[in-house]
């Protein structure tokens, strides 16, 4: 049986989102895939903020926005936990055996303006 879809919340009741565009800087232009990066972000955030802390951030690494060629991507979170998410990203210094660092390109409230920054 097909599951009934949930009625969409009114805009005023919806969670306000923020989009963080970032770039991964690595040794000798190493390329990383989505799953490696996602695992690193989740592990660091769970270590740093804890399960309860992460639940408050509504963080999500957007799969369709990750470009492995230029190593740029977009992370979505709610507007109240931008600082927590950025601080956690700053604590990632390795991805597998490679040393990495992040550069924040832009923080925005709409996906449209941030996509322009990535292109």
């Amino acid at each position: 049986m097909k599951q009934k879809k949930l009625k969409i919340l009114k805009p005023t009741l919806r969670e306000k989102e923020r989009y963080i565009a970032f770039q991964v800087i690595s040794e000798e232009g190493e390329e990383f895939n989505y799953s490696d990066l996602e695992a690193a972000i989740w592990n660091t955030m769970l270590d740093f903020l804890g399960e309860e802390g992460v639940s408050k951030t509504s963080v999500w690494l957007m799969k369709d926005c990750w470009d492995p060629r230029i190593q740029k991507g977009i992370l979505r979170c709610n507007n109240k936990s931008v600082q927590e998410v950025i601080a956690s990203l700053g604590l990632i210094d390795r991805l597998g055996d490679n040393r990495i660092t992040f550069k924040i390109l832009k923080i925005s409230g709409t996906i449209k303006s941030i996509r322009e920054k990535l292109c």
């Binding site: 270590d47 931008v82 600082q83 950025i86 700053g90 210094d93 550069k103």
Partner: protein, 237 residues
Amino acid sequence: MNFYDLHLHSEFSEGESSIEEIANRAKLLGYEGICFTTYLDEKNKIKETKEITSKLSEKIGIDIFTGFEARNISELDKLVKLRREYDVLLVKGYDLLLNRKAVETTEVDILTHPEYNRRDSGFNHVMAELATENDVAIEVNFREILNSSKNTRANVMHKIKNNVELCKKYKTPIIICSGAVTHWQLRDPKFLISMGCLLGLKLDEAKKAMSEVPENIIKMIKERQDKKWIRPGVKVM
């Protein structure tokens, strides 16, 4: 807004990366200026470092300063006498007597991680008052948080939070530095600002700790290196 990191170590002191690697990375991450810190044992290399940094500064387009970090009271006394020969004077905090001496000395610019390797936070209300009076900035060191984990990180952050709270109460300048020893430990200024927010600063206070406070220190450096300058508030007219 211009961001500065005034506590970095290159291969000339305890660091692992070259000055060029660090300066290039700082430029890429959006810093306006950086300061390479060394110890008194490396005093002979200061001329060599200054030559390299001035060439790099022009090539890369970033302000590069040189600083000394005093590790004990005798080193601090010697460095105070040589104060006009270098840019920034930092004091490596951990010992209570040294922390106290640092905040009492007007020549000192930054007291780095007063809570380093201590069970307490190494900083109290008396020191906070003195630091405000003598315009000594108290450092929030990102490397301490980055290099620790689990319970150690929680303890370090707790002690830094206590110090930040005291500094806010007594209006002591707070500076956020990466304390990086390799160019991989250097972080985008936005990460340091966010960490500052998690440690009890408001967003504008955290931004100030990365831009206005270091800018004031740089302004003081320029004044001090002027031949007409004698001591704070005294100048040949």
